[in-house]
């Protein structure tokens, strides 16, 4: 089992790195003008555009002409575009060099001053020297670090270049993730409990009024556009229950502002759990061992919860870890609609604004969570149903 887990973890790591590399290359295949807003395209001079691209690491000052665009009164041959009278002074950077920098900066260190404010970053080359020399009481930065300064290693994915300009991607993700997870986990717990219980009741009273109401709810939730449902919930929640219409951490009662987003979030997944619980339970109810249990005189309650639900829950359980882990991703629609400052809209906004580092960071997170979710789901299934084996011949998953 340990060998299997290690093998899966290694495979997961390789998959994540591959996903990240593919995204990295794809992002850099975009035309450079996509890195500017329409405003910037209007107001920026060519020089400003090149300067920005240089700072993003996409271009570099031409070594041949030193950024002047001219070599001995002639257009620089290395950075000239077409038959222009002079070169641009800049050249595209190799995408492999950029990828190298990306992985290199992951182990970069951040330097803080005496007041705890970050003042610079330091290259990872200095890390071993810093660690060994700090132990010896000497300054590894040869006097460039002032008294009271400290150095911390960090998992650096770079800084946001648009959405939260200059902020570390890891900081942005950590902050947003916590908000999404909070409301996501509450919504998941609600929908899991409600969905499973209501699904059991639907199966128990199959073709009865309750089953029809439950099916109707599931159909409505899935058929009506979400934004319409959210609008109705927002207006109803506000006018009937005086609930705040948007998330507000500064409100007198911040928890109250989370109610409507949580209701909207749990609504769809409740329908999902109802649907699948009902379906798996109805499947199980028709099996011979259930008929035998009934014939042997077991009460309906015992049959439903001890036997049917236990078996019906196995396929549902497989997706539980992924559901829990993916709460970090938030919900695009709900969070946008209620202005929840979570992860939901972050990826689409980062993509639409070409915030390279943020896109890479979020892709890394989502890929990791997705893969880990599947992996943990497999492990959970083996715990719930010992008949399932992940290793061995024949039935290996």
């Amino acid at each position: 089992m340990v060998k299997y887990i290690l093998k899966r973890l290694l495979q997961s790591l390789i998959t994540v790195l591959l996903v990240l590399s593919v995204v990295f290359f794809l992002l850099r295949m975009m035309p450079s003008d996509y890195f500017f807003t329409e405003d910037e395209l209007i107001k920026f001079t060519e020089e400003q555009k090149y300067a920005k691209l240089e700072r993003l690491g996409l271009m570099e000052i031409c070594k041949t002409c030193g950024g002047k665009g001219m070599v001995e009164d002639k257009a620089c041959p290395n950075c000239r575009e077409g038959d222009a009278a002079s070169g641009t002074g800049y050249r595209n950077r190799s995408v492999f060099a950029q990828l190298g920098d990306f992985f290199y900066q992951m182990v970069e260190m951040r330097v803080f001053n005496a007041k705890g404010k970050e003042v610079k970053t330091a290259t990872p080359v200095a890390l071993p020297a810093y660690l060994s020399q700090k132990a010896g009481g000497t300054d590894p930065f040869e006097g460039t670090l002032k008294e009271g300064y400290s150095v911390r290693a960090c998992f650096n994915l770079g800084k946001s270049i648009r959405l939260e300009k200059g902020q570390y991607v890891t900081d942005v993700i950590a902050q947003k993730m916590s908000v999404s997870m909070e409301i996501g986990l509450i919504a998941l717990a609600i929908s899991l409990v409600l969905g499973v219980v209501l699904g059991v009741l639907q199966a128990r009273y199959k073709d009865g009024v309750f089953d029809h109401i439950g099916t109707g709810y599931t159909v409505v939730v899935n058929a009506v556009p979400r934004l319409v449902i959210y609008t109705v919930i927002m207006i109803a929640g506000s006018s009937l229950f005086a609930l705040p219409m948007r998330y507000d951490a500064t409100a007198a009662n911040p928890d109250l502002t989370k109610v409507l987003p949580i209701v909207c979030l749990s609504m769809a997944s409740t329908a999902g759990y109802m649907l699948w619980t009902r379906r798996y339970m109805v499947d199980e109810l028709n099996k011979d061992y259930i008929r035998l249990a009934k014939l042997k005189g077991l009460s309906t309650r015992k049959v439903m919860f001890r036997h049917v639900l236990k078996n019906a829950f196995v396929p549902l359980a497989q997706y539980l870890p992924a559901s829990v882990l993916l709460t970090v991703g938030g919900s695009l629609l709900v969070e946008t609609f209620f202005s929840v400052p979570g992860m939901g809209p972050e990826l689409t906004k980062a993509i639409s604004r070409y915030d390279l580092n943020l896109v890479q960071g979020i892709v890394l997170l989502y890929a990791t969570m997705g893969i880990m979710g599947v992996f943990l789901g497999d492990l959970l299934m083996t715990l719930i149903d010992p008949r399932i084996k992940l290793t061995g011949k024949g039935d290996v998953r």
Partner: protein
């Protein structure tokens, strides 16, 4: 009868004013932005985006600001003058100004040298990535040289060496700024006499920066500064910020100008998903104003929904953007080959004039303002309120006088079917001889994801069809996916663009300078019209005539009235040749508890969103009350 009407009007105004006076003012303001306009940086020197500057202008005081009529107003400077007719400008600072942190704790005095530190930051290639550098480089002695010096040094010595530069040394040696901390004076030496330079002092390229703050947080730390770490010297500090959720501005406890400026206790800017969402928040009492989309406006106006808001509908003031129909003189087809049919047609002055006189844009304007479409009419290239003559006349009045057009708000004055028919007939004759086939296909691009743009394009298409005839021109509405610049402008696929321009400083050259011929700094000439690639001699002659007039007007620096008159002639020349066709202003409708006429009204720069000296009411203003406000404002 007139006297009676005047009396009735006066009584109505007095009653309205009394009603307003009896209502309490808001002590805190709840406003909003849509999520696409979230602030991206707190570094005021490192931003050229309106979404950032609309917030940051409240946190920092520059030398000058604007009042509610658009006039320049003293701010951090208590006086300013030019001893030599505009080539040197001396600003003298108020005493007692301080830098403070988000908690209001005083960190340092605001000194004249902070303006030098700010300028050094802007011009330093390694520090500010060239943001906001272009205006100082064009205007201030030695600024361009210092910028080039830092850029060259970045390449040879590395960025760290350039980041270590301060105002001492090369900057002091090269750049034309003298500061005297004792006397509190800042002197700018300009490359030329620039009478409009004080309006540049309202813009962030000339904002102060404390060297002590940089010492504390480092160069990289300042570039990526956050609201929690930065120092403020303006009317508000940030007390709460959550990206894409909300920001709270709290009035600065140690503000130097507290006695003379009316401020809110707090201003909460809520980020909302859409304007429709904002409307729901307004109805729930969570916002103090809301701009209405067309569907909501028409529903209220026709009383088909929320009719109780109809008495409170008020017309907003125009934004600073002047929209033009920019014609493209070197267009390509989608296969990359030149679109000769269009290029020949648009080079013909009769063809352009048939468009100029033949399009009644009233229905198009109604897409922005369904109730009073003609509030959006625009017959000039330069925006209203950018510059005024010595007797207070708006510069655009001079242009309209040259053109013989006025805004009477009852008919679309420029439309002249008879003239259009004459020009059309002449164009058909001349262009047919050149091999142009009719109808001339005109490609117009809109965002593929915008249903509003699609509906507006349909209206525009109907106008072309109705006014000019399907046998003459055919408007093809096409879509781009995400970037007009990359997908349309670069490959030169559009026949025309409708685009708005807002000025950065108070001079017509900021508008007209974008259209001059053979000028690498002329943005629209290079990026939109592609006029420099046109080959038609008559067209080039028309552009050259306009360019010569602009150059001549720019040279007049000692008599502003003469300067504006000369620019008006140049602008009239440009429009009379129909080189671009003035199109519209943005004038929306809203529900509001704010007297729009008390706000800073700046048609250039970044001062328009300052939350100071606003008149408000705890009850929403009615249409009549706002009209009374407008009348009182006009009488001021």
């Amino acid at each position: 009868m007139k006297k009676l009407l005047a009396l009735v009007l006066a009584v109505v105004m007095l009653v309205s004013m009394a009603a307003i006076a009896s209502a309490d003012e808001l002590t805190s303001l709840n406003t909003y932005e849509t999520q696409g306009r979230e602030l991206e940086t707190w570094n005021i020197h490192y931003s050229q985006a309106a979404a950032d500057l609309n917030v940051l202008c409240n946190l920092f005081d520059g030398l000058l600001t604007n009042d509610n009529h658009g006039n320049l107003k003293l701010n951090a400077a208590k006086s300013y003058e030019s001893p030599d007719g505009g080539k040197t400008w001396v600003f003298t600072l108020n005493e007692g100004m301080t830098w403070f942190d988000k908690d209001g704790e005083v960190q340092a005095d605001v000194k004249a040298s902070d303006w030098a530190t700010g300028l050094e930051w802007v011009l330093n290639y390694a520090k500010n990535d060239s943001y906001n550098a272009s205006m100082p480089m064009e205007m201030i002695v030695g600024a361009a040289e210092y910028y080039e010096y830092t850029k060259t040094l970045t390449d040879s010595e590395g960025a760290d060496a350039v980041k270590a530069l301060t105002t001492e040394g090369k900057f002091d040696e090269l750049v034309g700024i003298d500061v005297d901390d004792e006397a509190g004076t800042i002197t700018y030496h300009l490359v030329d006499a620039l009478p409009y330079f004080p309006s540049v002092a309202t813009y962030n390229c000339l904002y102060p920066l404390s060297a002590e703050l940089i010492e504390q947080v480092g160069v990289d730390g300042y570039r990526d500064i956050t609201w929690e770490d930065m120092w403020y010297n303006g009317a508000y500090v940030i007390s709460y910020f959550e990206n894409l959720n909300q920001k709270v501005l709290t009035k600065s406890p140690n503000y130097w100008n507290d006695a003379n400026v009316k401020r809110f206790d707090t201003v909460t800017i809520k980020m909302v998903e859409s304007v429709a969402n904002a409307y729901q928040l307004y109805k729930a009492g969570e916002l103090d104003h809301v701009s209405l989309d067309q569907a909501t406006l028409q529903a209220i106006y026709s009383e088909s929904a929320d009719a109780e808001y109809k008495p409170y509908l008020v017309e907003a003031r125009p934004t600073k953007y002047s929209y033009q129909m920019h014609l493209v003189y070197s267009k390509n087809k989608e296969d990359g080959t030149p679109d000769e049919n269009w290029n020949l047609a648009v080079a013909n002055e009769n063809f352009r004039k048939s468009l100029y006189y033949g399009l009644d844009l009233t229905n198009y304007l109604a897409r922005t303002n369904a109730i009073n479409p003609l509030s959006c009419e625009n017959y000039c290239y330069t925006g209203n309120g950018v510059a005024f003559t010595s007797d207070g006349t708006d510069y655009t009045v001079l242009v309209r006088n040259e053109l013989g057009l006025d805004y009477d708000r009852t008919t679309y004055n420029r439309y002249d079917a008879e003239k259009a028919a004459q020009y059309k007939a002449a164009a058909i004759e001349e262009l047919t001889a050149k091999g142009v086939t009719f109808p001339v296909e005109m490609d117009y691009y809109i965002s593929g994801s915008s249903t509003v743009a699609a509906e507006t394009a349909k209206v525009l298409s109907d106008i072309f069809s109705l006014c000019l005839g399907d046998d003459y021109v055919k408007l093809n509405t096409k879509t781009y996916i995400s970037s007009l610049a990359n997908e349309v402008r670069k490959p030169r696929l559009a026949s025309f663009y409708i685009n708005g321009w807002g000025a950065d400083f108070a001079d017509p050259v900021n508008f007209l300078g974008q259209e001059t011929y053979n000028d690498s700094a002329a943005y629209y000439s290079n990026a939109y019209s592609n006029i420099n690639d046109a080959t038609d001699a008559d067209l080039i002659a028309a552009y050259q005539e306009f360019t010569d007039l602009v150059v001549a007007a720019k040279a007049i620096t000692d008599d502003m009235d003469a300067r504006y008159a000369a620019f008006a002639k140049a602008e009239a020349c440009f429009i009379n040749h129909a080189l671009a066709i003035p199109c519209s202003y943005e004038v929306a409708w809203e529900l509001t508890k704010i007297n729009n006429f008390s706000k800073v009204y700046s048609m250039y720069g970044m001062q328009a969103y300052r939350y100071v000296d606003w008149e408000t009411s705890t009850e929403a203003y009615t249409t009549e009350q706002m009209e009374a406000n407008a009348a009182a404002y006009a009488a001021e």
